[in-house]
């Protein structure tokens, strides 16, 4: 019964939080509106995400977000140093192939987005069968190290989150 009313509890929760962020005011009326949206939107959009993966581990997801934010800040400083001080002919850019073991499209999308948002690496493409990501790195003296870093730092955590 509860499952039928809230087919996607995490989405409902996310909608409530989003609505409160939008109104920017803690009133009871906002909660009523948030509850209405959190019920209706998941119900109406349910046909569009058959077989969507469930987030198995919400605390791990929050820890992952914190880790990515921290990495983004550190990597920004690194890349700023490269842009400002490194002579252009010494910048070694390279394409790197990163095999992914993640099974669901959603998890791969999160991994690809993470790689793009951490400065210094951009997800350029994916193999047509969805098993390898093509990554461009701004400065990669050792491409293998970057690949291993992505796999151990982000992919193992995503595996735990999406199961």
């Amino acid at each position: 019964m509860l499952r039928r009313l809230f087919p996607h509890p995490v989405l409902s929760l996310f909608l409530i939080v989003t609505w409160f962020l939008l109104v920017n005011d803690w009133k009871l009326g906002s909660l009523v509106m948030a509850a209405i949206l959190a019920t209706l939107i998941p119900l109406f959009t349910a046909p569009y995400w058959p077989g969507a993966p469930r987030v198995r581990n919400l605390p791990a997801l929050l820890a992952y977000v914190a880790l990515v934010v921290w990495d983004v800040i550190l990597a920004n400083i690194q890349v700023a140093r490269i842009v400002l001080f490194m002579p252009p002919d010494r910048i070694r850019s390279a394409f790197i192939r990163v095999p992914v073991d993640l099974a669901t499209p959603e998890a791969i999308a999160v991994l690809a987005g993470t790689i793009t948002m951490t400065p210094g690496t951009v997800t350029a493409d994916m193999s047509a069968d969805g098993r390898v990501l093509l990554i461009h790195s701004l400065h990669a003296p050792d491409p293998d190290a970057i690949r291993d870093d992505i796999k151990s730092r982000y992919e193992t955590r995503l595996k735990r989150i999406f199961g």
């Binding site: 499952r3 962020l21 077989g51 890349v79 700023a80 192939r97 948002m117 350029a124 493409d125 098993r131």
Partner: protein, 130 residues
């Protein structure tokens, strides 16, 4: 208290402006298209993040209170920015594959940008009966 807050806000604004400037400077300094793609991702993360943080904290000093809306801006930027970056790099691959030193996929199929094999017909969507 407000002095300390003002100092913090000023410092954050300088950081935001600094990273925005470095991002734009990278656009003219880096040499190839793929390298240039890296520069705007800088400005949109730490630069924008710092500016939004200032906007959130500013209300504390003026009495209007902490503002939460900027969090949404940050979330939406983080979700959408990788998509435009991906489109730009796809365009780049299309235009200049011959010059780029692309590695092989190592699997049976090519990179998705160049793979013209038609996908199998859309599978019928499973129904969620639970």
């Amino acid at each position: 208290m407000t002095d300390a807050l003002d100092l913090l806000l000023a410092a954050l604004l300088v950081i935001a402006g600094g990273f925005g400037l470095i991002g734009s400077y990278g656009l003219i300094r880096l040499r190839e298209g793929m390298q240039r793609l890296h520069a705007p991702t800088k400005a949109s993360t730490v630069g924008l993040g710092a500016a939004l943080l200032v906007s959130m904290l500013h209300g504390l000093g003026t009495g209007t209170g902490f503002s939460w809306q900027e969090l949404l801006v940050m979330i939406f930027i983080f979700v959408t920015a990788p998509i435009s970056a991906n489109y730009l790099s796809k365009l780049h691959l299309h235009l200049r594959r011959a010059e780029l030193d692309l590695p092989e996929t190592g699997t049976a199929r090519d990179w998705a940008t160049f793979d013209h094999q038609p996908e199998p017909a859309e599978p019928s969507l499973p129904r969620r009966d639970t």
